[in-house]
């Protein structure tokens, strides 16, 4: 590791952050257009973040509450940096030499756990309810995801993401989604849960428990969370792109692929209504689980 890596990492974060924000805006815009609305401006997420940072007063419920957004954003950035973003690029390989796929999978929880703790310290019952729902849902979609990951790791005989991407080079017929469809389907369904969009958005459930865990967060704290909301989904998209869709050799390819992958939960989300938690837990542990098991058996 050299110090220039840090510079490269900052560059990656910068690009992905912007990409994430724009993606967020564009997707919401698309959602609005589906509903025959004009929708927000594509740069609205930027304004929101600036607005939140420009808030003058902040309240805090305690230490955990204060550093929860830090945990969250660290989780998001870490997830991004532990993955090779652009295949074959020294600059955007980031810190993927520190750990493999297992690290990436487990590092997701770093932010989730930290956020949950902070939200809980706010003392707001809705936060706790949101966390309860969120964790319940995470546990359930993690099972098909794990099965899919094992299947993929076995398929390529490695846990090294770079090598997994390398093995998928040379045309889309080499992509995992073609070569190992069951694992890919199981993981893509789990991906729906991971993105937290409808029908699996009961965690935030704006009409029900205001917005779940972040209910009490405001101003700068919320701003940090918003940054994470830009980076974290983008990082997840990149992970799935790397695992299932052959990775990307340049930014254009990355943007195209991740955008299209994102359309999958967006599409499902605009079509299906919300599941209750027990329903989604049950659902994840039936259909996707069976697909995952088939994927394992077929190895």
């Amino acid at each position: 590791m050299e110090f220039k890596n840090i510079g490269y990492a900052l560059l990656t974060i910068f690009i992905v952050l912007n990409y994430g924000l724009i993606l967020q805006g564009v997707v919401r815009k698309i959602g609005a257009r589906v509903g025959r609305r004009y929708g927000i401006r594509w740069y609205q997420p930027y304004i929101d973040i600036i607005k939140n940072y420009a808030k003058r007063s902040t309240i805090t419920h305690g230490v955990m509450f204060y550093i929860a957004p830090v945990f969250r954003l660290t989780g998001g950035i870490g997830l991004l940096l532990f993955m090779p973003v652009i295949f074959g690029s020294d600059i955007f390989g980031n810190f993927s030499f520190a750990g493999d796929l297992v690290l990436v999978l487990y590092f997701q929880f770093f932010g989730i756990l930290g956020m949950a703790l902070g939200a809980a310290e706010s003392g707001h019952p809705y936060s706790a309810i949101g966390v309860s729902r969120g964790l319940s849902q995470v546990t359930s979609f993690e099972l098909p995801l794990t099965l899919g990951v094992i299947a993929i790791a076995m398929q390529y005989q490695t846990l090294n993401i770079t090598e997994i991407v390398a093995a998928q080079q040379g045309g889309f017929m080499n992509w995992t989604i073609i070569t190992n469809p069951f694992a890919a389907i199981a993981m893509l369904i789990a991906f729906l849960g991971a993105m937290g969009r409808s029908p699996f958005d009961v965690v935030l459930a704006p009409q029900e428990i205001p917005i779940g865990p972040p209910t009490e967060f405001q101003s700068g704290l919320l701003g940090v969370l918003q940054l994470n909301r830009a980076i974290f989904p983008a990082a997840k998209l990149i992970l799935f792109m790397n695992l299932l869709f052959g990775g990307a050799t340049n930014w254009a390819e990355l943007i195209l692929k991740t955008f299209l992958i994102y359309m999958w939960p967006v599409f499902v989300g605009t079509v299906f209504p919300r599941f209750r938690v027990d329903q989604s837990v049950r659902w994840f542990l039936t259909v996707p689980l069976i697909i995952g098991i088939i994927a394992i058996i077929l190895i």
Binding site: A98, G99, D100, F109, F110, A120, G123, L143, V281, I296
Partner: protein, 1045 residues
């Protein structure tokens, strides 16, 4: 040397001369009687000494100067001397014990008493069967006479039943004797033996009648209702005599008679014995009446002895060792318990809670109970060990199984009783006062048990190396129990530390790792002991006993040492667990699972010993046959300690109810004993399978399901310590899974997870223990918001749960990463999926733990709660430091473990490049991750701090609450049934199927016992009918179709 004939002379003389004393001189006459008893004891003891030290020859005494058959002959040999000593010592101490009663009843009773023992003495010594009959009758008439000591109607009617039954039995005996005489034309036993009666048509029947009569004197199941009533109703002193002295004498008679019967008699004795053993213990289950329970236990023990005698052909020259071990433990322990029951004076076993008022009495009772069940260091332990080894060696698997089942059932009711004594909650406890004459005999017998136990251990060839130093240390701690806590704590820590220091150079491989977990862990948890004030009576000896056991496991080279240590550990932990609040039922279930598990281990070792001369643990490596069965038995035995699914139900309660610093000991340290056992087993036995079915695959699934179930149940607990306890269940599931993989990485994962589990579970249990100590409740939803009051505890819990959940950068992730790689190496994907599912479920309970206790709303009552005591925090922060080091430099933990595993599994080892671990599949650099995460964290935090440095601190009700505001913290803290939707979706998985199963088993057995015991309807005639039916049935069995037994 005083001739044995003087025993009779003295007894008779005393009995007659007592008649001259007047009632006024009752004290003097008692002294006179005592003198006589002492003299009898002296004579027998003197002979015993002579036999033991100077090679004394067996002597024959012929009365009236004739040789047999024309005279009555007595024999004094080594065995006679032993039995006479036991009987006379029991007699002497009984006399002392019954001083009050005898004094009250006067000289007549003393006469009867002396005559009873004269009868028993002669019964042992005589070689003439008619003489035998006469003195048996004298003994039973005397017994019946003594029963009247108690004036209650029950005692009298019991005595009547007794006399009717014995009269019938003696009638049978008489017929047998005369018939034998008819065929053998001699009453001298040696002559009868030579005449081979069993091969004569009628002779066999005659012999059978004698045999069955003697057996009936031993109260075989089910023809024993009369004896039970006596046990229940008569004075406890009588119970002692009947159970300890008379039974010993009759057992001896049986061994005298058996040569007449010949080889085939053993078979019948064995069957009767095992039926008695099982039946009587089964019925004992439903007993609540102390003395009747003891009666059932007595009969059960005699049944075991009969079984052992019946198995003589297979046990060979070990019979004596085994039988005597069982007999002496039974005699001393049962006598002790009967005497204790006379002191406590509680008819119902629940009333025994009264015994707690005097802890020393409790120690005595514990001694007797553990001796009866066959725990070390008592003779019965070695006897049972030898018994199982020999049975296994002779392929008597069914007998082995039945004996273990019987012993287990006996353990159930004895420990239930003991539990009531230690922990039972009972309002109106009987008052009792301790008289010296009553307590001294009890103490003598308790000490005798220890002494004989030690002597016995030296007789066992392989046990010579048993390590008694820790036990002496325990004794020392017991002696200084009156000192305040901090002194004893320091001494204990110093003791463990010194021992660790001395054995450290000799340790290697797994022994080193586990020694560190056990002993260093012990020191850490003991540090928390400084928190306690006062004396903490009885705590330190018990703790040290557990650690002595754990230590013994590590030092064990032979199966016996291993088992010895295992049992010592069980005793210590049992007492530690039962010290907790409301722990009675949990401790019982712990004990039962432990005893059951121990018996499986015993059976496994026994089978492994087939065809082996050595007792070394290495015999496991080349067992002769039964390999998969041995493996399964041992594995299941060890899994009772690791609390794998199905065998886990003892754990949550036991761990949750224990004291704050005991929970980490039993949870973080004790469970590792099971892991250690599994490692010892797997290293030596290697891969095993039933046909094509791989046992390890099954183990992996068991591990995976244990992990899921443990974690899920943890997520649904309201009780913080119970949550942690279930979490232990789950985590040991991972360890089991890792071990089952049988690969380098699997073992690396399992061992490192064990180490990590030890660390974080100690951390968490201490932290939660500190919280519980402060807030005085374990229900999590009653806490909340404690972060502001106990920030240091919060930090350790936070780190603990990050480690549990395996989130990078802390060290828990290392275990998960290795497990992933191990699984991919091995190719067991479905259980792997389950294991990782379990890992994710861990998040649920982790979050719940920290949220409901430390976050959310602080409760009214807790507004002035203080931080946990320093001595609770100190060990936590030591562990925390170690965790941080292991997290940042994972190879400091994993590399040594890997090197230990290397000789056994070398394939697929990790390759270390600095802190970078490389496996076949992936790589991981703990140090780098730590830096990266730390770096990002600091930068983001700095940014946030810069933007929001002057944030307004608000209080707990300042929340956006739909324009309202909360009014009570209780209603605002979302904590109860935290994962309600999850429970709705998956709760069916954690429905208590397993506890229901065990409960149903237990209920069923109890119901059967209840049905069967209805045969004892309390009517003397029914009992006579039982006796006759018993004779007829065994006649049919013995002569089924053909003559000749």
């Amino acid at each position: 040397m005083v001739g044995p004939i003087y025993i009779i002379a003295v007894a008779l003389g005393t009995a007659f001369s007592l008649g001259f004393f007047k009632k006024a001189n009752v004290k003097f006459s008692f002294a006179f009687m005592l003198l006589a008893m002492t003299f009898m004891t002296f004579i027998s003891g003197q002979w015993l000494y002579a036999f033991l030290t100077q090679q004394q020859e067996t002597i024959q005494i012929f009365t009236a100067g004739f040789k047999p058959p024309f005279s009555i002959s007595l024999q004094m040999g080594f065995y006679e001397a032993v039995f006479l000593s036991i009987i006379n010592i029991v007699g002497l101490l009984s006399a002392i014990y019954m001083y009050d009663k005898l004094k009250e009843k006067g000289v007549q009773m003393m006469m009867v008493f002396v005559l009873l023992f004269m009868g028993l003495n002669v019964v042992v010594m005589t070689r003439d069967i008619f003489n035998l009959f006469v003195f048996l009758e004298i003994a039973s008439i005397a017994t019946a006479g003594l029963i009247i000591l108690d004036k209650s109607a029950n005692a009298i009617s019991a005595g009547f039943k007794y006399i009717i039954a014995t009269a019938i039995i003696s009638g049978i005996l008489l017929i047998g004797i005369i018939a034998v005489y008819y065929y053998a034309e001699s009453l001298y036993i040696n002559d009868i033996i030579n005449s081979n009666l069993s091969f004569i048509k009628g002779g066999a029947v005659a012999v059978f009648l004698i045999l069955i009569a003697i057996v009936l004197e031993l109260k075989p199941f089910p023809a024993n209702g009369w004896a039970l009533d006596v046990y229940e109703a008569a004075h406890p002193g009588i119970g002692t005599i009947v159970s300890a002295a008379s039974a010993s004498a009759v057992i001896f008679v049986l061994t005298k008679i058996l040569p007449i019967v010949g080889e085939s008699g053993y078979y019948i004795i064995g069957i009767i014995g095992i039926i008695t053993f099982l039946g009587s213990n089964l019925l004992g289950l439903k007993q609540n009446t102390t003395n009747r329970l003891l009666g059932y236990s007595s009969i059960g023990q005699i049944g075991l002895l009969l079984t052992i005698i019946g198995l003589t052909p297979y046990l060979g020259d070990k019979t004596l060792f085994i039988a005597f071990g069982v007999l002496i433990s039974h005699a001393l322990a049962k006598a002790g318990l009967f005497w204790l029951s006379g002191i406590i004076n509680s008819k119902n076993i629940k009333g025994w809670a009264a015994i707690r008022r005097n802890p020393h009495l409790l120690v005595l009772m514990g001694t007797f109970i553990f001796a009866l069940v066959g725990f070390p260091p008592f003779p019965s332990f070695f006897a049972k060990w030898e018994l199982i080894m020999q049975l296994a060696n002779n392929d008597k698997i069914i007998w082995l199984a039945l004996i273990l089942i019987g012993s287990f059932i006996e353990g159930v009711y004895l420990f239930r009783w003991f539990g009531y004594a230690i922990k039972g909650e009972n309002q109106d406890l009987p008052e009792f006062k301790i008289q010296w004459n009553k307590i001294i005999p009890v103490i003598i017998f308790a000490l005798g048990l220890y002494a004989i136990g030690y002597y016995y251990s030296t007789l066992t060839g392989s046990a010579a190396s048993l390590n008694y130093i820790p036990l002496l240390f325990i004794l020392f701690l017991y002696a200084i129990d009156f000192l305040p806590v901090y002194i004893k704590n320091t001494i204990s820590i110093a003791g463990i530390g010194y021992y660790l220091y001395t054995i450290y150079p000799g340790l290697e491989e797994f022994n080193l790792i586990f020694a560190l977990i056990f002993l260093a862990g012990g020191i850490l948890t003991l540090l928390a002991g400084y928190t306690y004030k006062g004396k903490r009576q009885g705590f330190y000896p018990l703790v040290m006993m557990m650690f002595a056991g754990l230590l013994g496991l590590i030092e064990a080279n032979t199966t016996l040492e291993f088992f010895f240590a295992w049992e010592i550990m069980t005793i210590g932990s049992y007492f530690l667990i039962i010290r907790g609040k409301k722990s009675m039922t949990h401790a019982l279930s712990y004990m039962l699972f432990s005893v059951g598990g121990a018996y499986l281990i015993l059976a496994g070792f026994g089978l492994a010993h087939i065809g082996q001369s050595s007792y070394s643990l290495d015999i496991l490596a080349n067992v002769q046959g039964y390999a998969p069965i041995i493996f399964t038995l041992l594995a299941v035995g060890f899994m009772t300690k690791t609390a794998s699914i199905g065998l886990h139900i003892w754990l949550p309660g036991a761990h949750a109810e224990a004291e704050s610093d005991v929970s980490p000991m039993v949870s973080a340290i004790l469970l590792k004993a099971g892991v250690f056992g599994l490692i010892v087993l797997m290293l030596r036995m290697g891969a095993q399978s039933f046909g094509s079915f791989d046992i390890y695959y099954a183990l992996a699934w068991i591990g995976a399901i244990t992990a899921i179930m443990g974690n899920m149940m943890a997520a649904f607990q309201e009780d913080a310590k119970r949550l942690l306890a279930y979490s232990s269940v789950g985590f040991l599931g991972y360890a089991l899974f890792g071990l089952a993989l049988m690969s380098h990485l699997g073992w690396l994962a399992a061992v490192s997870l064990s180490v990590i589990h030890f660390m974080f579970k100690t951390l968490l249990f201490l932290a939660i223990g500190g919280v519980v100590m402060r807030v005085k409740t374990k229900e999590m939803y009653k806490m909340g918001g404690l972060i502001k009051k106990m920030p240091f505890t919060f930090i350790s819990v936070l780190m603990g749960i990050i480690v549990i959940s395996g989130v990078p950068p802390l060290t828990g992730f290392g275990g998960k990463w290795i497990l992933y790689n191990a699984v991919l190496d091995k190719g067991w994907f479905l259980p792997a999926g389950a294991i990782f599912f379990a890992g994710i479920i861990a998040f649920l309970y982790c979050f719940r733990l920290i949220h409901t206790i430390f976050l959310g709303q602080l409760k009214d009552e807790h507004r002035e709660v203080k931080e946990a005591p320093f001595w609770m925090l100190l060990p936590q922060y030591i562990i925390l430091g170690v965790i941080m080091i292991f997290s940042a430099f994972p190879n400091s933990l994993l590399k040594p473990i890997g090197e230990v595993i290397m000789p056994y599994f070398s394939d697929g080892a990790l390759e270390w490049q600095g802190q970078l671990a490389v496996s076949n599949f992936g790589y991981w650099n703990g140090e780098l991750i730590m830096y990266i995460v730390g770096g990002i964290f600091v930068i983001v935090f700095a940014w946030l701090w810069f933007m929001n440095r002057n944030a307004q601190k608000v209080k707990q009700f300042n929340i956006g609450y739909s324009a309202e505001r909360p009014s009570l913290p209780e209603t605002t803290h979302f904590a109860y049934n935290f994962f309600a939707p999850y429970k709705k979706a998956l709760g069916f998985l954690v429905s208590p199927i397993i506890s229901d199963f065990w409960e149903a088993v237990s209920e069923g057995i109890h119901a059967i016992a209840d049905k069967i015991r209805r045969i004892y309807d309390g009517n003397a005639q029914t009992y006579v009918l039982h006796i006759i039916a018993f004779i007829v049935i065994f006649y049919l069995i013995a002569f089924g179709g053909s003559y000749g037994i």
